[in-house]
């Protein structure tokens, strides 16, 4: 097992830059998520780590060794493809043993290893079946088997659950996480599903247009987004954005929106201009005493909670509140925000303005 360090990694396809000077570090044994919308360069980044694509510039260290320009076969990593890519002309056993055969491992030992892996994954009964007729889940397990059998330095997975249907995904993601906890292998996992990333990951890198927007634990990324993009991409419903204009000193603990002071974590830098007040729906309460007011335009019932949508002078706000709390459409109510959780963003660049809340996180960059 090994840690992976990516430094200033860049990939161009002709004129087009798919990945722009990315840097991040995957600790030994971590389950690391590469998250971002379609086309943002996740797969390209992963393929560069694997050696299936050579970087235009930058360095990749696996276990302390610089491998950036080495071919895939010399990197000792395992890759799980989105489409699994099981060799169709071989049965399950041969698929799993194929990586061992390439190392010239003796037959008896290969058999033993394959049996061991099959037991871990619970696929002992299908070992002699052709891969053609397998169900999605079994195919997934065989693909994992082929990856773990060799005990590589790390696992790279490109949306490994993408081909499964929603119900089964959940089950497999749990299985995958358990497998990881048991083996403690460094894993880089690509997904565009923020929920999957939050549930499974120890750390998350959020990418957009080939740029790393933020890098940190799921909690940090959720609570202390470094940019408007991250705040919007993570969470469902996503963070509320109230746009306003103003001028704030370093140390300010209030922002004034529509003549109402709203609490914020003490700022660490001054700012003057167009800003965005960001607050998660669960940190918005309906309160008659609050001065900041909005009109209820919709209420969506979700069992124990409901999502109430309100129109305010600074834009639409969603509040997640208990479902037994009355919320009638058309009513105008007061809105109380939990200021300690709020983040201010520069409306122009989208970056978060430094405050007591996010100071520690932003310095990672």
């Amino acid at each position: 097992m090994a840690e992976i360090v990516i430094r200033n990694l860049r990939k161009e396809f002709g004129e087009f830059t798919a990945v722009q000077s990315s840097s991040f570090k995957v600790e030994d044994g971590e389950f690391f998520m590469l998250l971002g919308p379609s086309g943002c360069g996740k797969t390209t980044t992963l393929r560069m780590i694997a050696g299936l694509e050579l970087p235009t510039s930058g360095e990749i260290y696996i276990g302390g060794e610089e491998v950036g320009q080495r071919p895939a076969s010399e990197r000792d990593i395992a890759f799980v493809f989105q489409m699994f890519a099981l060799y169709p002309h071989m049965n399950v056993r041969r698929n799993i043993s194929y990586p061992l055969v390439s190392q010239g491992m003796p037959r008896a030992q290969v058999r033993e290893k394959v049996a061991e892996v099959a037991k871990i994954l619970g696929i002992e009964e299908i070992l002699d079946r052709p891969v053609g007729g397998l169900s999605g889940g079994d195919r997934q397990r065989v693909a994992l088997g082929r990856a773990i059998v060799r005990e590589p330095k790390c696992f790279l997975m490109d949306e490994p659950l993408g081909a499964l249907d929603a119900e089964f995904r959940e089950h497999m993601s749990e299985e995958l996480r358990k497998l990881h906890d048991r083996m403690g292998a460094t894993t880089v996992y690509v997904t565009h599903d923020q929920l999957e990333a939050m549930q499974m990951g120890d750390k998350i890198v959020v990418m957009n247009h080939g740029v790393i927007e933020q890098f940190g634990t799921p909690q940090d990324i959720y609570d202390k987004p470094a940019s408007l993009f991250v705040a919007d991409f993570i969470g469902s419903p996503s963070m509320n954005f109230l746009r306003f204009h103003g001028s704030l000193e370093a140390g300010a603990t209030e922002a004034v929106l529509s003549h109402q002071p709203l609490g914020i974590p003490a700022l660490r830098e001054p700012f003057d201009g167009d800003m965005v007040y960001g607050v998660r729906p669960e940190h918005v309460r309906l309160s008659d005493s609050a001065g900041y007011r909005g009109e209820i335009v919709a209420a969506e019932y979700l069992g124990t909670t409901q999502i109430v949508t309100l129109a305010t002078p600074n834009g639409e706000v969603k509040a997640r509140i208990a479902s037994d709390q009355p919320a009638r459409v058309g009513e105008t109510v007061g809105l109380a925000f939990n200021g300690a959780t709020a983040t201010l963003f520069d409306n122009q660049t989208g970056r978060a303005i430094r405050s007591d809340l996010n100071e520690g996180v932003l310095s990672h960059g």
């Binding site: 050696g51 076969s73 890519a85 060799y87 169709p88 002309h89 390439s102 007729g133 195919r139 082929r146």
Partner: protein, 312 residues
């Protein structure tokens, strides 16, 4: 059952389809059957009118095909009694066997040139198609178009330049020359067909193999080739059929050593009057190799491209 049908065909549909297929089979197989039976007729039965459906089968056509014969005097015939059934057959006509005919040689030439050029076309085609499919080749589209453009006119249109070229290169009437020529003609078909098949094979298979520790060539041999077997078999059949049946270049460029069967078979007609049974016998034998080859590779032709291991 079928991967393509939404509903199973009804009984009626099956019946109609069956009749149509049978009809088509009769139309295409009848001439072959005619050639096959003519090969076993006597010369007079072969030209009888109205055509004889029932006749006494004889191997005379095949004997004539494989031997050259000369007329002899009664005295000579009496002195040299026939030693085998075929000599006896020839004696009955007042002739003796002078030696083997050239059919065997010509047939062997066809086999060497046909299979040789097929092997070369498919071998080179597979490598080229793989490169075109997987690598960033400079001017790829132009190269592919250039390769295709060699198909845009009938090959025989360049017969004269090729004839002159072969003469000055000393390739006229040689096996190597004919193999080269047929390979050149077939290569464009082979590259394009195989590129299509290669494009269909997901790259992930090779990439998985590369990551599993195999070299690019090993991945090609162990993972790509088995996947491309269907395409390779189909391409080989097309190439063989062209090379095997080719007539015009063979007439023009070969006359002796490297002459193939197609230009030879018509010459049989002139040997001893119009010997249709011998011609039919030659045609029957000539059909066999392609037939056997196709039947051997049928499994690959019919087997659909395996899907399922990769989800699309």
């Amino acid at each position: 059952m079928s991967a393509y049908s939404v509903t199973a065909p009804s009984r009626r549909q099956q019946w109609i389809a069956g009749v149509l297929v049978a009809l088509y089979a009769v139309i295409t197989l009848l001439p072959l059957l005619w050639i096959f039976t003519t090969g076993f007729k006597s010369p007079s039965d072969a030209i009888a009118y109205p055509p004889k459906l029932a006749f006494e089968p004889t191997l005379e056509g095949y004997v004539n095909l494989f031997t050259t014969q000369t007329r002899q005097t009664e005295a000579y015939l009496a002195e040299n009694p026939p030693e085998s059934w075929y000599e006896e057959m020839v004696h009955a006509k007042g002739m003796v066997i002078a030696g083997p005919s050239r059919f065997g040689e010509r047939f062997l030439n066809s086999v060497i040139i046909g299979f040789g050029s097929t092997f070369l076309s498919v071998f080179l085609g597979t490598l080229a198609a793989y490169a075109f499919s997987r690598y960033r080749v400079p001017l790829k589209d132009d190269l592919l178009f250039f390769i295709l453009s060699t198909r845009m006119m009938p090959p025989i249109a360049v017969a004269i330049p090729i004839f002159l070229m072969f003469r000055s290169l000393g390739l006229s009437d040689t096996h190597a020359g004919m193999i080269l020529l047929y390979t050149a003609v077939n290569l464009s078909l082979s590259v394009w067909l195989l590129k299509g098949f290669m494009d269909e094979i997901p790259r992930e298979y090779e990439e998985a193999a590369l990551i599993d520790g195999y070299t690019r060539f090993q991945a090609f041999r162990k993972v790509v080739l088995p996947q491309a077997a269907t395409g390779i078999a189909a391409t080989a059949i097309f190439c063989l059929i062209f090379a095997w049946n080719e007539y015009a270049f063979a007439v023009l460029l070969t006359s002796g050593t490297a002459q193939t069967a197609p230009p030879f078979i018509p010459t049989i007609i002139g040997v001893g009057g119009q010997d249709w049974p011998a011609v039919a016998a030659g045609a029957t034998l000539f059909l066999l190799p392609v037939m056997v080859f196709t039947i051997l590779l049928r499994k690959h032709l019919l087997r659909g491209i395996t899907f399922g291991a990769v989800r699309k």
